[in-house]
């Protein structure tokens, strides 16, 4: 059945991907074991003349229970509605609602139930008086129940789009469109103020915003009984979202001050989980993702890996190796025997390419078949960003979603969601090992190649600026409400 799915007008790239992931989580496509994986995506349809970034979409779901589960678990779905009627004028809407079968309508209109009608306009605020007039205009619907604005049994929505000029930055609507429907479910946005970073006890410079963290947890299909790992755990901001959805969590970081000490006994990664009454992570440890300490033979243990790798803009990655490696000397510094106990190993810079290589290799080995790898990947916007990006690839993984969030005029980050589709074979392990050695031997070269920081913060290349005419002709990403979303 087709439902009307209305999104919040933000994080546009993330919205359909989230619903697709939740459809997978709630097994909308049945208990498939790989065979019909290809067909497992939802059918979508846009209202006529609507821009793809419009908040109004139609989605085909097998039942109302699925629609409710998906909507209630989501972060970006304002509501999923059973559409009772639509039209380009109120007369057409009335005609359409009258034609909608009574057996679908009457159960929600009976005298024992309570209801509420909300009037909503996209791109315009309508006055209280106008809202009331519109509700009164619906008198032809035989509401028998009592109105209850606090806690109604049934929520009805009257939604309108019109040619108001700006239309939140979307191309103007060609034709007015009015929708009337019964709400099936909607996102619980109250989560966001509860988990917002400004009330979090222990914060780091790159703590993940709560809304994005929840989206990541949804992409990773976090749910009770699953084990989710973050190799760059920091203050735990991503795992908190996964734990909220009931998953077991595990995190590692190369910085022992963050994972072990925090800012004292009541301000550390553990206390962040305690603050929300969440179960503690199964484990926190200090480990280097470049040389992971997992025992040989251990594989396919995590259901998902979610992380925000250090890509050198807000925070740079570090790996084992030390000063000597930095200077290009092959021989490592030897720690004198009497100083071994409390020795603090130095670390070397960790380029993005190497970091992502290690992450994919680790994920390919440690994620269960069908499990997910969800991580942010930075993209320079000076490149022809309209065209296809080259995202990292791995033979064990299939990319199923890439959602861009623009961070500045120079770069944005893309949330990549990958599914493990192939086993981690010995050939893949060997190839990864060879690459690992290449990274070690050409440390300085990779450090320069994979340095996003300088690309983001260096002044724009004058030569490129001179040849700027061609770049001006490139179609810019549309701005909504004066900003990119």
């Amino acid at each position: 059945m087709w439902y009307l799915c209305v999104f919040y007008h933000r994080l546009l790239d993330y919205r359909k991907a989230e619903v697709e992931s939740l459809a997978e989580l709630f097994r909308v496509f049945g208990d498939d074991d790989g065979d019909n994986k290809e067909s497992s995506s939802l059918k979508w349809r846009l209202p006529q003349h609507h821009h793809p970034d419009s908040p109004f979409h139609f989605v085909n779901l097998p039942s109302e229970d699925f629609a409710r589960n998906i909507a209630n678990r989501s972060i970006l779905v304002k509501g999923i509605y059973e559409l009772w009627g639509e039209g380009s004028s109120y007369e057409e809407l009335e005609e359409s609602i009258r034609c909608y079968p009574d057996e679908r309508k009457l159960p929600y209109l009976d005298s024992g139930s309570t209801f509420k009608i909300t009037v909503d306009c996209f791109g315009k605020v309508i006055s209280f008086q106008e809202q009331n007039d519109r509700i009164k205009g619906l008198a032809y619907i035989p509401f028998k129940g009592r109105a209850n604005l606090r806690n109604p049994d049934h929520n009805f929505w009257l939604m309108e789009t019109d040619d108001y000029g700006t239309n939140n930055g979307l191309p103007p609507v060609v034709q007015r469109r009015i929708f009337f429907g019964r709400e099936v479910g909607g996102a619980d946005r109250k989560l966001l103020p509860t988990y917002q970073l400004k009330s979090r006890t222990y914060l780091g410079p790159t703590a993940m915003d709560a809304e994005i963290a929840f989206l990541m947890a949804n992409q990773a299909l976090a749910t009770p009984g699953k084990l989710v790992y973050d190799p760059f755990v920091g203050t735990g901001s991503i795992l908190i979202a996964a734990a909220h959805f009931g998953a077991m969590t595990m995190g590692a970081d190369i910085d022992i001050r963050v994972v072990r000490d925090g800012r004292g006994p009541d301000c550390n990664v553990w206390s962040n989980f305690k603050q929300y009454g969440l179960p503690m992570p199964i484990a926190l440890l200090r480990a280097d993702n470049n040389l992971p300490p997992w025992r040989p033979g251990l594989k396919e243990i995590f259901d998902a890996i979610i992380c925000d790798p250090p890509y050198g803009v807000r925070a740079g990655g570090r790996k084992s190796g030390g000063r000597k490696l930095l200077k290009g000397t092959v021989d490592p510094y030897t720690v004198p025997d009497d100083k071994r106990t409390d020795h603090i190993p130095s670390t070397a810079a960790y380029s993005l390419v190497e970091c992502v290589h290690d992450l994919l290799d680790l994920a390919a080995r440690m994620i269960v078949m069908g499990g997910r790898l969800v991580f942010f990947y930075p993209v320079l916007r000076e490149d022809d960003y309209v065209e296809d990006h080259h995202y990292p690839e791995h033979p064990c993984f299939k990319l199923i979603a890439a959602s861009e969030q623009i961070l500045s005029s120079r770069y944005s980050r893309v949330l990549l969601t990958m599914v493990k589709i192939g086993p981690y074979t010995e050939e893949i392990a060997e190839a990864a090992q060879l690459k690992h050695i290449e990274f070690r031997e050409n440390h300085l070269k990779w450090l320069e190649d994979g340095n996003l920081h300088s690309a983001v913060f260096s002044p724009a290349d004058p030569q490129i600026a001179a040849a700027g005419d061609s770049s001006l002709s490139r179609e810019p990403k549309p701005k909504y409400r004066g900003k990119y979303v």
Binding site: P224, G225, L227, M248, M250, I254, I256, V259, R260, D261, P279, M280, I282, A283, L284, L285, R286, A287, D288, L291, P292, P293, W294, R295, P296, L298, E300, I301, S320, G321, G322, K324, L325, P332, Y333, T334, V335, R340, T341, H343, P345, S346
Partner: protein
């Protein structure tokens, strides 16, 4: 550090062939109650190296685990309780993990194992 973590870790010092299982040096063990999730236990059971796990539990002072276990044991609630307790409720709060080959000490402080290698070990 829970024993689940211990069961996943090895010494990855360059040149070490048998870095698993790490020997446990106990200074302080704490017990923290957590809710039992049978699905999780059944999922994780096949990934556990049982001998190393039972041995580690004994080192922490818990000797109730059988020497060997196979997946048929998972039907017993009594076994699940013990497995759960050893896997998730026992914590090595202070101590160390010792590389079985080189004797290198990986310290465990405030429950966090420090697996980072020195410059000459990578």
């Amino acid at each position: 550090m829970r024993l689940l973590t211990h069961n996943m870790l090895s010494s990855n010092i360059k040149g070490v062939a048998n870095g698993f299982p790490l020997r446990i040096e106990v200074e302080k063990v704490v017990e923290k109650k957590v809710d039992l999730n049978a699905d999780f236990l059944r999922n994780i059971f096949p990934k556990i190296e049982w001998k190393a796990f039972a041995e580690a539990a004994r080192t922490l002072g818990y000797a109730e685990l059988p020497e060997d276990a196979d997946s048929s044991f998972l039907d017993s609630d009594d076994f699940l309780d013990k497995f759960h307790h050893a896997l998730l409720e026992l914590h090595l709060e202070e101590g160390a993990l010792i590389c079985p080959e080189t004797g290198r000490r990986f310290p465990v402080n405030k429950g966090i194992p420090n697996m980072l290698l020195h410059e000459d070990e990578v």
